[in-house]
């Protein structure tokens, strides 16, 4: 099979693949940073004292988590223009990824915060620390250790999810495979190259996960 493989074409299309790789990387980074902000805000709202904020955040988180990402992408792709908002495909895609990942990140952060035992908080209250001080000195540092590994997992999911943007004709990695398929009818070559490049991204992120695990995970036992 490998004998029939047309490496010349892969080589010929390499500049396109590298552009796709770069775009996938940029889309993922930008979406991840925005999703982190959305996720932290949504989590703060979810844990807030105000019922309305809590309700809004629950509706957001649940509706994102219960519907397919592709549906969400189409929803923004076709929905935003009908609202009179002309948003280019790339931005539409980033908005969809941001809101999607944001909902998952909100739950990851919440799990981290609620994993801190109540006694820790009571100890802080008893010594007169304010809510903000308790969060900053007691809760968040302990939550961080349990939050970072699943966050990196979510980052990897986000990279893979960005492939769906190919369906609204954003030129990212997967789209390159599709181009090779439609222009030269070489799906095997195209998608194998794409897969290998995704693997490269994965192996760039993985050591980061290991490193952060060592650095940040706080263990009770030494």
């Amino acid at each position: 099979m490998l004998i029939n493989f047309n490496f010349r074409v892969i080589w010929e299309y390499m500049p396109l693949f590298l552009e796709g790789l770069r775009n996938t990387f940029l889309i993922s980074i930008v979406s991840l940073i925005l999703a982190l902000m959305v996720g932290i805000l949504a989590c703060a709202a979810r844990l807030s004292r105000w019922k309305l904020l809590r309700a809004v955040s629950i509706v957001y988180i649940e509706s994102i988590r219960s519907t397919p990402l592709l549906v969400q992408i189409y929803f923004f792709y076709f929905g935003l223009p009908t609202l009179g908002l002309r948003v280019p495909e790339l931005e539409t895609g980033i908005i969809a990824l941001m809101l999607n990942s944001g909902a998952y990140i909100a739950e990851i952060v919440r799990a981290g915060i609620t994993s801190v035992p109540n006694g820790q908080i009571e100890a802080g209250i008893s010594s007169g620390l304010s809510y903000t001080q308790r969060m900053r000195f007691i809760v968040l540092p302990q939550a961080l250790g349990v939050t970072v590994p699943p966050l990196l997992g979510q980052a990897i999911v986000l990279v893979k999810d960005s492939a769906l943007l190919s369906l609204i004709s954003v030129l990212e990695l997967t789209r390159c495979g599709q181009e090779l398929t439609s222009e030269r009818f070489m799906p095997a070559e195209g998608f194998l190259t794409v897969a290998v490049l995704y693997l490269c991204i994965y192996y760039c992120l993985k050591p980061l996960a290991g490193w952060s695990q060592k650095k940040l995970i706080f263990r009770e036992e030494y």
Partner: protein, 242 residues
Amino acid sequence: MIVFKNVHKWFGKLHVLNDINLHVRSGEVVVICGPSGSGKSTLIRCINRLEKFQQGELYVDGQALHDHSINLTKLRADIGFVFQQFHLYPHMTALQNVTLAPVNVRKIDKKEAVALGREKLARVGLADKAEAYPAQLSGGQQQRVAIARGLAMNPKIMLFDEPTSALDPEMIGEVLDVMVQLAGEGMTMCVVTHEMGFARQVAHRVIFMDAGQLVEKGAPDEFFDHPKTDRAAQFISKILTH
């Protein structure tokens, strides 16, 4: 210093504190005992407002806790609380545990706080453990750090909720020694404990609670040797046979 007047508290339907009247004077050491679930923890948690109550009056260090406009931060800063399970911050060293509140609540200078923290750790016999994390300390050592953490705020009152119940027997002594010393220095203390030896040695008064009621109060020797109520007599015979 602490005055309970007809205090009632309910958890839903459960009447956890039933008409509590109690006056703890400055410098007094009061031991609170009673069966599990009788409301001892709830009682002392009301004193620093970890729990609210629905009826009655409670004055702590001149502040009226039934009044909602009190300065909670100041109230809590002036009261040390020691938990059964220590609740040290596991991501901080012993010294950091002890200096966190002085720096952030009392707003004292970092350097000054470190000196203060080391002094308090030395006082509980742990000068050499300042840089250790809680997980590297034994239970008795952790509880002593927790006491130092309370003392670092220079509190007017120290509250202890079963401070030795989670400890292995061989470590109980080291924690009680610190508390005995503290009592000797005139600290106002409310201690929930079943350590009769400690009560006889330093308590000015023993209070016996059962089912949310303050059933009996008296001098320790009198209470343990000649309890007035059957409920107290039964309870004492139980802790004696243990």
